[in-house]
């Protein structure tokens, strides 16, 4: 099953992006926790594209697509903003005290922590493509039915 939505690259649209993911997760029968993780990852990815890729200009778009395969949800985000390299991002500080803790830099940490696989392809012609893959936990009741 596949579904898609195009949103304007503006923070006001983050809600629509999350609603789209929530709907896809419901269709996939995802548990609330998996749905929350995927919403967070997509929200953070969109926020990065809006603020860094498009530099907050607000005139770009983000194409979101969701594919449901056996117990796997694959979300792709395509944008035509400035490309970046997720590999170059520094490790996030999650342990230092309040005075030393840097403000910001949590977005990619949340993406990495919330999905099972990440793929990023910079493409100035067809658009930069970020793919997030989440393996869905099987609900307990379903396991019982099978067993």
């Amino acid at each position: 099953m596949r579904s898609g939505i195009t949103i304007a690259a503006r923070v006001e649209e983050l809600k629509a992006a999350r609603a789209f993911i929530e709907k896809a997760c419901a269709a996939a029968g995802a548990l609330d926790r998996d749905a929350f993780d995927l919403k967070l990852a997509v929200d953070e990815a969109c926020t990065n594209i809006i603020q860094h890729g498009y530099g907050g200009r607000g005139d770009g778009v983000i194409e979101l697509a969701c594919e449901i395969d056996t117990n796997t949800l694959r979300v792709t985000l395509v944008d035509r903003g400035r490309a970046f390299s997720p590999r170059d991002l520094p490790e996030t500080d999650t342990t230092s005290g309040w005075a030393e803790r840097p403000i910001g830099g949590l977005g990619w940490h949340f993406i990495r922590s919330s999905v099972d696989a990440i793929d990023y392809r910079a493409d100035p012609v067809n658009g930069n493509r970020l793919t997030l893959v989440k393996r869905l936990a099987v609900p307990q009741t379903k396991e019982k039915e099978i067993g």
Partner: protein, 111 residues
């Protein structure tokens, strides 16, 4: 997201409802800043009605923790819901922020 402010003597209780993301977090940060600007450096964030936060919300929280503690005060959170708590844990914020089950508990912790 909605924000309502209630001042209880020297403590500002800021009740937040809805989702905190890149669009709404600046409003939350502004509400915190306004209280600090008015001299309320002891702040309780009532998060009972917050069902979602992204890193944008955590930025507002960390900024406020720094601002208040540097002035001898604090930001303490009450009634944080499980999903939001998990985001705080992912960021390692549960080691920084003081969390309480209820608003009254958080308010009392200042005395």
């Amino acid at each position: 997201m909605d924000v309502r402010v209630e001042r209880r003597e020297a403590i500002a209780v800021i009740g937040v409802t809805g989702s905190v993301d890149g669009a709404t977090a600046p409003g939350l940060a502004a509400a915190f800043r306004e209280e600090i600007g008015a001299g309320f450096i002891r702040i309780v964030g009532d998060f009972a009605g917050v069902d979602y936060t992204s890193s944008a919300g955590l930025r507002a929280l960390l900024e406020t923790v720094k601002e208040t503690r540097q002035r001898g005060g604090d930001l303490r959170l009450a009634a944080v819901q499980p999903d939001v708590r998990r985001v705080l844990e992912l960021a390692g914020f549960t080691g920084i922020l003081k969390l309480f089950g209820a608003v009254d508990e958080a308010v009392a912790s200042f005395s």
